[in-house]
Amino acid sequence: MSAGKILEKLGGALFFSGMVCLAAWADDPKPKPENTVHVELTEPVKPQAFGRPLKFFVGEVTDRSGNAQPMLVLKPRGGIFLDRTPVEITREGLTNCLKSAGMLAADRESADFVLNVYLFHFGLSDSSGMDFFGKVEFAVMVKNAKTGKSQQIQAAGTSIAGLAVRKKNIQKNVLEDINKAFEDAVRSLLRGEKLRDAVKALDVPAETKAPPAEAAPPPAAEKPPAHRWN
């Protein structure tokens, strides 16, 4: 085979791969004001009432989803993007809810409990193809700021929204879907039995923390003899 033919074939292959790259680049949606949505709670979720007034502090919020593009919620039709990262949205949502109920501590030191959040999913998930399936899933490490003891609880929210044909309606439905799923997840955390049980288990009043030395069980020799019936 002559050098000219080889060069010709190489050139053809290069042109083809260049076109493929260009097509892939062109398919990759870019965030623009018209394809960006603002997710937030429509109204703050009222947290459940506890045995005594408690203050919570939202500590670290970590994205554990492993998603390389956490702000891209829908890829087809030019894509739909979030205007903030799921971490920021979650932090703001939880803070607003606690603040509106007067349960937000000013700082870590003044809090009864610190909530460290690990986000596992935020956005749309695989559906039947007949609707949009919004899903928000996170784990929260509830830590007693005084004793340092902690317990992990799960919270998840789901929502279903109808499909649409027009891009404007798709965007509207996706936004509504994620909003609802997020609200559901926050609700599941703040009004959930798991948080109630975790707080109940971790909220040990100071006076009953450690039993005094004299209250220790007596040695075996001092135990009263077992009663014999025969």
Binding site: D126, S128, G157, T158, D184, G192, E193
Partner: protein, 170 residues
């Protein structure tokens, strides 16, 4: 003639009035759907139960069975507990079907099949109100999540029917 017209207008208005009437009071205050369990050995992904749960909640909201459809594990006020229900269920059978049979034979041969046992309990005393059994089928050429959508629709339909037959109120 004029009197007739006035009478007709009044009759039409009277007929349309029920449409403007306030929605009837919901039968229950809250309804809580729980994630359905699966019997061992079923070839269903964990996402399937998540999706079924989401679809069930969406269907319950649409059906207006209760004033509020709450999330799994959400606390309910003591006062509302007697008028609240929970929906639990177990997927007892799943057949993934056969596309070959569906194409060659047709007439629903080789369709996917899902059997679900549901239990509706009163929240306050855990008394079982109804326990309908659902069986849904769908083409194997569709995604398995279509089955979840169909199942959720059937579950709510069956629950409504069973509650109506039982005449069980809050």
């Amino acid at each position: 003639m004029r009197v007739m017209r006035v009478a007709m207008t009044i009759a039409l208005l009277a007929a349309a009035l029920p449409g403007f009437a306030k929605d009837p009071e919901h039968q229950y205050k809250t309804v809580e759907a729980k994630h359905f369990t699966k019997v061992e050995g079923l070839e269903l992904s964990p996402e399937f139960t998540d999706y079924l749960y989401a679809e069930l909640r969406a269907e319950l909201t649409k059906a207006k069975l209760a004033g509020q459809v709450i999330g799994e594990g959400e606390v309910v006020d003591e006062a509302d507990a007697p008028a609240s229900i929970t929906i639990e269920g177990s997927i007892t059978e799943y057949k993934k079907g056969s596309v070959v049979k569906d194409v060659l034979i047709g007439y629903t041969a080789g369709w996917r099949s899902l059997k679900v046992e549901t239990t509706i309990k009163r929240r306050s005393d855990q008394k079982i109100i109804v326990s309908p059994q659902i069986h849904v089928r769908a083409s194997p050429r569709w995604k398995d999540k279509v089955l979840a959508k169909e199942a959720a629709h059937e579950i709510v339909k069956e629950i409504k029917k069973a509650l109506k037959e039982n005449g069980t109120g809050a």
